[in-house]
């Protein structure tokens, strides 16, 4: 089947304007470099207002930096991900691939002015971000030539698996389902026991539920401005 009249060849210039993605194998990464020192300037001018001076803010988003150790840089596994008492997870605790940071900052940051950074600025600020976490030295100059070495120091680079059943198709994983249940119909479980519920003081925390249900219906909304009935 052909489709005469539909579509036309993309020009090289057009592809260059839009094909900005950078893959884990660095395909798509433009040549260039930027220093962590320059990155600090950019960070403080264009990023810190939202992410905090040390990337620690959770004012507009969860912290970018924190929770990784020198040991993690060696092992490639962020140990605190296994610490259930550690609150929250920072970006650097999770991200396995430095390309992801580069690509995302390049396409989407600063949040209110995406795609406004030069290639040098993206290298620089990425380097600075990593330097805050001790992944690269404070005077590091990151470039297309040495980015693979940075990758080899990413704290959570070994922290991912694709060995599961939730990827469609055969290109990854392909494991059978991990969770098993059976559709028992009669006398299935023990006496049910309520283990978790909202405390009464949180009753109105999502607003008055009477105003979040239709005026008529099989059930109406509970007036949560009043004590439970």
């Amino acid at each position: 089947q052909t489709y005469p009249g539909i579509g036309r060849p993309a020009t090289a210039k057009e592809i260059a304007a839009w094909d900005i993605d950078v893959r884990p194998d660095f395909k798509g990464l433009p040549k260039g470099s930027g220093s962590a020192e320059k990155g600090m300037e950019i960070w403080e001018g264009k990023c810190a207002s939202c992410h905090g001076i040390f990337g620690e803010s959770n004012e507009v988003f969860s912290p970018l930096v924190g929770g990784t150790t020198a040991e993690d840089v060696k092992t490639g596994r962020v140990a605190r991900l296994n610490d259930v008492t550690f609150p929250g997870r920072t970006t650097l605790m999770k991200v396995p691939t430095v390309s992801t940071l580069w690509d995302y900052i390049n396409r989407a940051m600063p949040w209110n002015a995406p795609k406004s950074l030069t290639t040098e600025e993206v290298y620089a600020v990425t380097a600075y971000l990593l330097s805050m976490a001790g992944v690269v030295p404070d005077n590091f100059v990151m470039s297309d030539a040495n980015i693979a070495e940075v990758q080899a120091r990413m704290p959570n680079r070994n922290g991912m698996t694709t060995d599961h059943h939730l990827w469609p198709g055969k290109s990854m994983g392909g494991k059978p389902n991990d969770v098993k249940s059976v559709a028992c119909m009669k006398n299935c479980a023990g006496e049910p026991n309520v283990a978790s519920f909202l405390p009464d003081f949180a009753r109105n925390a999502h607003g008055n539920l009477a105003e979040q249900n239709r005026m008529v219906g099989a059930q109406l909304g509970a007036d949560t401005t009043r004590p439970p009935g």
Binding site: G5, I6, G7, P9, E14, W18, D19, R23, D25, K27, V60, F61, A79, L81, N82, T91, K94, S99, T100, D103, Y104, R107, A108, W111, P114, G159, M160, T161, T162, L166, W167, P168, G169, S171, V179, K180, S181, C184, K186, C188, P192, V194, S196, F197, L198, H206, G207, L209, A210, E211, Q212, N213, R214, M215, V216, A218, L220, G221, A222, P228
Partner: protein
């Protein structure tokens, strides 16, 4: 905010009248004795003023900004399987836009020069000339019910399950567009989809889903164009896969030989397992269901007959069966499924129930055509722990208290 007519619900009784009859019957209302409004009062109509409580809502404190945030669909007030487009859940990472469709373009290219024989650019006019299909599919955020992984966190089904919607999508199978450009599908086993908004959202999608015809480049939603909040004028439809892959404001498709590890597949939408390892590229939304009526935050005003109603879905195909328990999972009855029961679509179920006024624990449990049975929290957490955020598809429990008030609870 609710309008004048949309305030708190008033308990409506239907008592046997003492004085001969209900004044709502005996005194004819104005609408029975007068002349109403003309046609085309609204060229594009709106819901009744009395429906002002039926709104999508943010969950207080869930996100720190409203442009990288989510609004939840009011499942407690919805019927059937079609989500009204005005109530479709929203998830933006860098805000939404109303994009001029006459200036919007779709580009197809390859990760290297050999991958796509003829990279191409399409206008909306051209895309809309290509063979089109229309299909009902659910879209669910991978983080739907995520707040409840550890314990009960929110009061109503709007917040527990409201990051799901279902629409009839119309568009062009991506396969047709790729065929038109000439793709090396031997090497090119992945697709990168990219949006035109500030986030220029990117996600990796397996070529198998393109080849089997299920991935659509869609412009239509429930009979009209996509809504701006949902990607007008073009979004990818990736049936059964989490919503973040359904790239909005779609501007580019790249065919590649490797996955892309985009921010939302290497930092988010990754599932933290016990032991600290994350699962990456967890795309499929598993078999799941929830009772929407009665549900948390509602009040049963009476004993007696009720219709228990809810929704079931699976990213792996059709729903085969839904069972309902009113005793916290000890005993189950099989619900009626409303037709049509469609592939990777919502399915509405209903079942009779007579409430005796005693506490009841209402649950639903779906089984899909792959045979997979929706698990309990116990079964799910045993394997995946409590910190995953994503892919919580556990059985939901609603406690009906003696007062008639319904609470969100989790059982041990």
């Amino acid at each position: 905010a609710a309008g004048a007519a949309g305030g708190a619900a008033l308990a409506q009784s239907n008592p046997v009248p003492t004085e001969g009859g209900d004044p709502n019957i005996l005194n004819l209302p104005a609408h029975t004795t007068g002349l109403g409004q003309p046609v085309v009062t609204d060229g594009y109509g709106k819901p009744s003023q009395y429906e002002a409580n039926v709104q999508r809502r943010q969950s207080p404190g869930l996100t720190q900004t409203a442009q990288a945030s989510v609004s939840f669909a009011p499942l407690q007030s919805l019927f059937g399987i079609v989500t009204p487009s005005g109530l479709h859940f929203e998830r933006h990472h860098q805000g939404w836009w109303d994009v001029d469709p006459s200036k919007h373009r779709l580009m197809v290219n390859g990760s290297d020069e050999k991958m796509v024989k003829s990279p191409k650019v399409f206008t909306m006019d051209e895309i809309m000339r290509l063979p089109s299909v229309s299909r009902f599919h659910f879209i669910e955020c991978g983080a739907n019910s995520g707040m409840e992984w550890g314990n009960v966190a929110v009061p109503t089904v709007q917040y527990t399950h409201g990051m799901i919607s279902c629409s009839e999508f119309t568009g062009v199978p991506l396969k047709i567009i790729l065929d038109l450009c000439g793709v090396d599908t031997k090497r090119g086993r992945y697709i990168l989809a990219e949006g035109a908004d500030g986030s220029s959202m990117t996600r990796t999608i397996p070529m198998e889903m393109v080849e089997d015809g299920s991935v659509l480049v869609a412009y239509g939603q429930n009979g009209e164009m996509l809504r701006p909040e949902n990607g007008y004028p073009l979004r990818l439809v990736v049936p059964g896969v989490q919503g973040v892959s359904w790239v909005k404001y779609l501007r580019r498709i790249e065919v590649g030989d490797k996955p892309y590890a985009a921010k939302d597949e290497a930092v988010h939408y990754i599932d933290l397992m016990p032991g600290g390892l994350h699962r990456q590229y967890t795309s499929i939304q598993e078999c799941k269901s929830v009772v929407t009526t009665p549900s948390g935050g509602q009040v049963l005003l009476d004993k007696g007959f009720f219709n228990i109603s809810g929704l079931a879905w699976s990213g792996r195909g059709k729903i085969k069966r839904v069972d309902v328990s009113v005793d916290g999972g000890r005993n189950w009855r099989t619900a009626r499924l409303e037709t049509p029961v469609l592939d990777r679509s919502l399915t509405r179920f209903n079942i009779d129930w007579v409430w005796d006024g005693k506490p009841a624990l209402i649950q639903s449990r779906a089984t899909d055509e792959s045979g997979y049975v929706q698990p309990t929290y116990g079964e799910l957490r045993k394997v995946r722990g409590t910190r995953s955020i994503y892919h919580n598809h556990s059985i939901q429990t609603w406690l009906v208290q003696e007062s008639g008030e319904v609470k969100n609870v989790q059982l041990s």
